[in-house]
């Protein structure tokens, strides 16, 4: 069976205005199967987010290939990648961005909107919120939530369409220890459910919880 996610010899580099090339990841190989938690570790600015964005098909790698279920993303158009991503990957960005003018429930239902499945998935959204102890704030606005709650809402949104693969960028950053540990427990439960998880983190507790680790170096040369 092909890996859910396969990065082969992926490099990410940015050229700034003076032409200086900043290499964030160099020849990275990464494969991910169900039931595994893979942590990309490394200091701030080492390119963890970029690697995650490349894995999620949000950023094209400078070189190397990215494949989901054996399908090379380079061969797909932007809209095709977007629709496959929705089915394949739940992504939680670093800020756990939510749309401020929508309620918590509506934010969780966002992935259903482009496919017109809002009514059908209403029950699942409520169930996910209940699972994370957020049932009471379903109709609140994101601004009324704590950072930990916002991150759980973003995770619920990522889980709405039941993707086999979760990608989370710094899921415990900005949380107090108790909330961070709660988040790590939730991620562990997802792994136990048979999901594959790719996380970027500098949090030692999360790094320790991972099955596989890749460490990005200083990255700058």
């Amino acid at each position: 069976m092909a890996s859910l996610l396969e990065l082969r010899a992926v490099s990410v580099a940015f050229a700034d205005r003076s032409g200086t090339l900043t290499v964030l990841a160099d020849s990275l190989d990464l494969g991910l199967r169900t039931g595994r938690l893979h942590c990309v570790a490394g200091p701030l600015g080492s390119g963890k987010s970029s690697v995650l964005r490349v894995a999620a098909g949000l950023l094209r790698p400078t070189s190397g290939t990215v494949a989901w279920n054996g399908e090379d993303l380079a061969a797909l158009g932007e809209d095709a990648v977007a629709s496959r991503r929705a089915a394949h990957i739940g992504y939680v960005d670093q800020e756990a961005t939510l749309l401020g003018h929508l309620s918590v429930l509506e934010n969780v239902l966002l992935p259903a909107v482009p496919r017109r499945r809002g009514a059908e998935l209403q029950g699942r959204a409520h169930q996910l919120l209940a699972e994370f102890g957020l049932a009471e704030v379903a109709s609140a606005r994101p601004a009324e939530l704590s950072p930990g709650e916002r991150r759980h809402v973003a995770l619920a949104r990522a889980l709405l369409l039941e993707p086999p693969l979760l990608i989370l960028d710094e899921p415990t950053t900005g949380l107090d220890r108790a909330s961070a540990d709660a988040m790590i427990a939730v991620l562990g439960a997802q792994r136990a459910d048979g999901r594959a998880l790719l996380v970027a983190s500098a949090d030692q507790a999360l790094i320790d919880a991972a099955d596989v680790r890749s460490t990005l170096g200083g990255g700058i040369r």
Binding site: A82, T97, L99, R157
Partner: protein, 304 residues
Amino acid sequence: MRLGLVLGEAANGLRRNASMVVSVVLVTFISLTFVGVAVLMQMQISQMKSVWYDKAQVAVYLCTDISPGESCAGGEATQEQIDAVEAQLDSAVLSPFIDKWFFESHEEAFKNFQKQFEGNPVTEYVTADQLNQTFWVNLIDPSNAAVLSESLGTMPGVETVTDQRRYLDQIFSVLNAASYTAIGIAALMLIAAVLLIATTIRLSAFSRRREIGIMRLVGASNRFIQTPFVLEGVFAALLGSLLAGGAVVGIVHFFVQGYLGSAMQFTSFVDVKDALVVVPILLVVGAVLAAFSANFAISRYLKV
């Protein structure tokens, strides 16, 4: 929820870029007002043409004692000369072109003159003898006036043959020039409006790049992401178009009908009904331009 979300996004964008949106509204408002005025001027011209060209007559002025020029060297036209002109008008050569004609004597000309210039001191100096006796001729096809001036212009006792349409053409060319000026200004302003809409939308997209990122993340297609931005541009332009429509109706109601209509009662002017025909044209032009410009701007933004 889908429609609500899309509209909510558009409303959000409008709120965030209030000052840019106001400028888009104003620029579309002014440019489309010029478009509306230009269209109404063309309507006015064609309305005047159809009314006045039909009424336009050819005047065959006969000599008076004070007429200058060689053809009037003999002074006041004699009765024989008048009869000769009349015979010519009724002849087989000219009568096929003529719808009807009538003769205006010195006394009738004087009466009309007194009426037309009532209250003007000039009425006290002019006597009946100084005013031309005139054959007023209505042609079947007013564009054949040259036939009359050719056959009558050189007859003895005829001072001059004048086609009234020539005066009308002067008025129409002034009106035409004014409406072309309005169209020119409108075109420049519309270019400004299109560029401004594109800039506004790009700015709006930039201020919502996180939201755009989220929608991408959850698998929304480009078209789905673009729609709120396009709606935002169209909404602003429609507001401007509505204002322009109101302005055009107001101009016609208060200035054209209220002022011109009572100051110049000899002709009819475009009315509010004509203005109401122009309003939907303005709305469509505004909406279509905005949709194109916003769509272009946002798809280029998303591509980069």
